[in-house]
Amino acid sequence: MCMIVDDESRDAITEMINIGVGKAAGLLNDITGSHIQLRVPEIQLVPIGEIANVNKTVFGADILSTVIQEFQGNFSGVTALVFPPDSALSLVNLLSGDQSPATNMDAVQVETLKEVGNIIINAVMGSISNVLSEHFAFSLPVYYEGRLFSIAANYIDGEGNPWIIIARTQFLIEAMQIEGTILLVLEVGSMEQLMKSVQKMNG
């Protein structure tokens, strides 16, 4: 079941995320010196309980590599950058110029992914914060490997079925395309708050 969101609000959310992602791409270019393009082709809004139905291949996987930052403000939740582990490793190797044949991430690679996640999450949430004139306080990024539902469950308190904004991202680096997903897991009641802010901005 997808939440009924009017086209204007959906466009506004997509635009805010796109601005943030564009900014993140610029920063990643500066840091790594390689040409990185970041795109968000579409966004979806679904209750967390139905996320596995959105993309069984990704969200149904046993293990996902995730960088998470909690945020608190007028509406609260967690923002996560989610990858299948192979993609996370490929991304880190491409960005850091390593050619590790490893199949598991080591501590330094985890750190690197945390910084990449921090850059993208800050840029996306910074964009939302600027456009909606909302203020959020963020935690430091945390790396987590596990099933998506258990990741979200760790960060969502209370009863109910919180909503998730899913933004599939494509990293285009050196002719390689790596897919990741930005998830905005909103606490119960926060989705309504976000929609109010978006509609207020849209006038």
Binding site: I31, P101, A102, D106, V108, E115, N122, F138
Partner: protein
């Protein structure tokens, strides 16, 4: 809000902690920072952190700091992208590897300041690097072992085939010897006839001896996996073995190693013997090497009469050669075990020219001691 007690606590932490204002002036510099940089609090408070520490004054960091001062989000700085946030040398003269985070803090009032927390991850980084190296070595050794095992399997299959052929040759000689022996025992009465038959038996026994010697050579194939050979050493030994010293080789041969089954020396000995025997007018043999595409080409050429065009493939046939030593058929089969191929590309009248095509992972250049087995490239 950070209290005075809290600042005192920050002073005791084993991480570097610096608090700066929006204009990057330093408000707090903890004891760990004093130890790491050798700069005392009194000498740095109030100064601009970006000017004092140019390693922090990078767009990849400075463009992200405004969001900290807006009170929004912490900035995470990994050791991969920013290994040296502040200049800090270890007792051995190397730079401390660091990772950090910049967090929004309020020391009082509405102003948001930024707290830079730096961790020393030198040991962790070295451990990870050490682990990566060990893992890469183990992976390489495993791949090498797998390759050797596969080659050994192929070698054993070829060994059976070679042995079968040679055993058949031995049987043939034995049958002939038995025939002569029968003649001696039953038919021949004159001593000259007996002597002639005995001479033939002796010749057959000598052939059998050579076949057995050849089989012993083949046995090496099944016993030892392929290994890296210094070509310079192989050529040198083949020259001594054949007593043929008119061999010239280019400087590229000096450090060349070839991954090959354990008959390479015999193969080179045969090349030189063939040049002596079949080349007729051969005065010298030239050996050279050059990389070409995904392979390396080792060329062995002489200035003899050469091989007729119609025989270029035929010379690698199973039935050709003296059969008492390695033939070109054996040479092609043995080299194929490690993916090496051979063909004759010379011009009749100008000399024979053998091109040995070695796959990219089957050769390397490495300065190696004469007896040292060169290792695979890292």
């Amino acid at each position: 809000m950070i209290s005075t007690e809290c600042l005192a606590l920050l002073d005791m932490l084993p991480s570097g902690i610096v608090i700066i204002r929006k204009d990057f002036s330093i408000l707090f510099w903890n004891r760990c920072m004093e130890e790491w940089t050798g700069i005392k609090k009194g000498n740095i408070l109030g100064k601009n952190l970006l000017l004092e520490s140019p390693t922090l004054n990078q767009p990849s960091i400075t463009t992200r700091l405004p969001q900290v001062f807006e009170g929004n989000s912490p900035v995470y700085l990994s050791s991969k992208f920013h290994p040296h946030l502040i200049t800090s040398l270890l007792p051995d003269g190397t730079s401390r590897i660091q990772r950090g985070a910049v967090l929004p803090v309020r020391l009082g009032g509405d102003e948001v300041d930024a707290m830079l927390v730096i961790e020393d991850v030198t040991d962790l980084s070295h451990q990870v690097t050490g682990f990566q190296k060990m893992r890469d070595i183990a992976r390489r050794e495993l791949a090498e072992r797998k390759k050797a095992e596969e080659a050994l399997q192929i070698a054993n299959a070829k060994l059976s085939l070679f042995s079968e052929i040679t055993l058949q040759d031995i049987r043939n000689q034995l049958t002939a010897a038995r025939g002569y022996n029968y003649l001696i025992s039953h038919s021949l009465n004159d001593s000259s006839g007996i002597q002639s038959a005995a001479g033939k038996i002796d010749h057959q026994l000598s052939l059998i001896e050579k076949y057995i010697s050849l089989m012993l050579d083949f046995e090496q194939l099944g016993k030892e996996p392929p290994q890296w050979y210094s070509l310079r050493q192989v050529i040198k030994r083949a020259m001594v073995q054949t007593q043929f010293f008119q061999v010239t080789s280019g400087p590229e041969i000096e450090d060349l190693g070839i991954y090959c089954p354990p008959l390479l020396e015999r193969i080179f000995t045969n090349f030189l013997e063939n040049a002596k025997e079949h080349g007729k007018t051969v005065t010298q043999v030239k050996i050279s090497f050059s990389p070409r595409g995904d392979a390396g080409i080792l060329t062995i050429e002489d200035d003899g009469v050469g091989v007729p065009t119609e025989d270029k493939e035929h010379i690698f046939g199973e039935g050709l050669g003296t059969k008492t030593r390695l033939t070109l058929y054996h040479t092609r089969e043995v080299l194929a075990i490690t993916g090496i191929s051979i063909r004759e590309t010379g011009v009749m009248g100008k000399g024979a020219r053998f091109e040995i095509v070695i796959p990219k992972d089957g050769y390397l250049f490495r300065k190696a001691l004469p007896e040292e087995r060169p290792k695979e490239p890292e």
